[in-house]
Symmetry: C2
Subunit: 205 residues, 2 copies
Amino acid sequence: MRRAILDATLQLYLEKGYSGTSTDEVAARSSVSKQTIYRHFSDKDDLVREALQRLIAAAEEQGAEAFDTLAESNDLENDLRAFARQHIFDVIQPDIMQVRRRIISEVERFPDIAKAWYEAAPKRAREKLAECLKGLCERGLLNIADAEIAAEQFNWLILSIPMNRGMFDVDTIEDRSQHADYADAAVDVFLAAYGAAQSPDKSRR
Amino acid sequence: MRRAILDATLQLYLEKGYSGTSTDEVAARSSVSKQTIYRHFSDKDDLVREALQRLIAAAEEQGAEAFDTLAESNDLENDLRAFARQHIFDVIQPDIMQVRRRIISEVERFPDIAKAWYEAAPKRAREKLAECLKGLCERGLLNIADAEIAAEQFNWLILSIPMNRGMFDVDTIEDRSQHADYADAAVDVFLAAYGAAQSPDKSRR
């Protein structure tokens, strides 16, 4: 029930945007009554936020194993590569990219939805990654002065090329032929900068 | 005249999108006749493309000096830092960010405008940077196996953090307090990976 309601909400939001999404149409598409919707959700805003949150949770769940393996790594280079490949796969997906486009297109009209997405998705993912990198530093496997910046850098080294191309050319989103190369190139640069063999002065200003 | 027409076109495009932009309103806003517009531009598509092209050319002109200095660098670290600071300043601007948002929001309806922007702005800038990096490699100042990938990486190391934050939170675009730190952090990572002291195996897979 809850799942059908949130699926319908996400679909409507992607098609018609925030203002084009109505609880009436969510009710019709998910074949439940409006009363049922209001038993589960306080209003349209709650519906849209929960639908986006569910998408984020699904992506997090997909990536959880590679993330946990990285956090407890005994083979850092290999586990960074696996993480990078999984991360590019999780994020460069048509639905995630479509949500990004939709939120960005409505950022001036609905800034709170955009801020909520940013906090829950990219920002939270990077905070989690920063914690993970700190743990790897404590174990002597990495040498990083500012884990927050390093987490952002690693994230964007992995994602930026296909993400930016995909934002302007939707046809490229499902072309995964170079994703492993991007992931590997990101890991090469990241390890060159922050591998344990590096002097810490290199990453500190 | 031409300038007034293109200013009015850009303003309208940002406000109302591609389908909301009409030559009638461009004529009214720029106080010229429609005949005059059609003497300079073949149709609305031509107008919008030229208006975007003009914005790109202005950003390129702003960054030209730092770019030329980098290409002929005798003090690589310093010139990379100057380039990175200039690049973040040129791109993380309200008008450029607003154009990006507008194009992204209309990518499904007007894919050709989005592809044209991608080719003319980010893609072309990276090709130019890749050529520059190749020249620096030939002079023994950098050690890069794949200059196209390295140019993308350097570009996104510089821009990604403020750009992605700014796409979801417009209020942050004019907060430049951390831009120098992002630029420097990008250069540190880039030089660690591709500085001439590095073994080329590090950057080749």
